[in-house]
Symmetry: C2
């Protein structure tokens, strides 16, 4: 996708987005997909606490599908305490109740809180693939984030959890612009153009012998309403009128 | 996670959630992760149009991490037209402008529209991993969904796109309950309990010789405010009072 300079300006400098902290992640696939999910929503700072079986991992760059800048800038830490030391605010993600008297937020609520903390650097802790964060690690966080998953199948993939947080951060921070809009390429049709279309359509259907005479009024009003529902623009009416002219000519020949 | 019957009742029957339609998906990993993402948010109906290199694919069940019911119930179609035939409303996901005069929605807007279509069955088209949907396939849809991704890294993984749509459907349909809440396990402390805590804390600090006499008033008021910011509950106050008693005893001995 090519980008205009206006779009580029909309991206704010790093440091404003939250830091993503993966605690003892195991699978290269998940770390790579985490980097990709972060880049999708403008997050860039990744920290890894004791990645299992060492770092860098084989296959992690392939899984990142081009988001290698996130991996290249990732920092490794020996403990959660060290990984969060410079932050002002930390959220811990967990799927289970911990019996800790802690605030619990959905991702959108948490990111609204985070965005409101002007001048603070915030981080989000994500636990091990199978067992999540320990209770002691959760106790280092200001508050908990949990996801509104189906109770029938609550097991969320690590990179998917990161994606949802990144997506909600982008929305909460006012950056959630769509890459293109559905603006009509032509202005709405004037009512004069619509009445001319009705006239030509009804003349073509008269010529084709479509209307039972006693029902012409009702059918005509219903068809006009179908056309109203289409919310036609000027270009649409020109296309429609052209098709009617071609059909009318063909019927006469 | 064990589920209570109350939680089970919150899940509505299938048919109300949108159908997910993958058009010529290639990678088993993506199809399996799609099934998992669907199950996470209560979607269950998966349709595949001409999966590349046949079906079932090797490795797809492993990638679904237990969401095999979605894969087992998946239906295969030879064309998009057949895959959407019984639906009343179809959205096409795309990352690029198509020059089609079509409504363009963010995932949350699209799911709000979809949830409002009572009694209609709706489906969402997701294109091929590399090239997405063709323009002709997009033209079969009522409207477009696109994602508010960073212009610096817009390439969203297929299963991640499905995840975001499923997540927003769950929110829009009022099912986005968290698996647990942050309700305090103990009622808020009464102001009588707080004043008793202030008294004991200040007595302990007096006994320890902490306060410069001329600053006692100001420091005391600041510390009382710190305690107010903690929004303590009854259990918190009991824990705090116990700690103060232990410290006071230790200072006297």
């Amino acid at each position: 996708m090519t980008r205009t300079s206006a779009e580029k300006e909309l991206e704010l400098p790093p440091g404003t987005a939250p830091v993503v902290i993966l605690v003892e992640p195991q699978l290269a696939e998940n770390i790579g997909m985490t980097a990709r999910a972060m880049a999708n929503f403008g997050l860039s700072e990744l920290r890894l606490v004791n990645p299992k079986n060492g770092w860098p991992k084989k296959g992690v760059r392939e899984a990142a599908s081009g988001a290698t800048h996130v991996l290249d800038d990732a920092h490794i830490f020996a403990s959660v305490e060290e990984a969060i030391a410079d932050l002002h605010c930390v959220f811990a993600t967990t799927a289970r109740e911990r019996g800790q008297m802690k605030r619990v937020f959905a991702p959108d609520e948490a990111m609204a809180d985070l965005v409101g903390r002007e001048g603070q650097r915030c981080g989000i802790l994500f636990g091990r693939e199978r067992v999540g964060l320990t209770n002691d690690e959760v106790s280092l966080a200001d508050a908990i984030i949990t996801f509104p998953v189906s109770p029938d199948f609550p097991s969320l993939n690590l990179a998917q959890a990161v994606l949802l947080v990144g997506y909600e951060w982008r929305k909460a921070s006012g950056r959630a612009r769509l890459p293109f809009s559905g603006e009509m390429l032509s202005p709405p049709a004037t009512r004069e153009a619509m009445v001319a279309l009705f006239t030509n359509l009804e003349a073509a259907l008269d010529a084709a012998g479509f209307y039972p005479p006693e029902k012409r009024g009702g059918i005509t009003r219903n068809m006009r309403d179908m056309l109203h529902r289409m919310a036609l623009n000027e270009q649409d009416v020109r296309t429609f009128q052209g098709a009617l002219r071609a059909i009318s000519r063909a019927m006469k020949s």
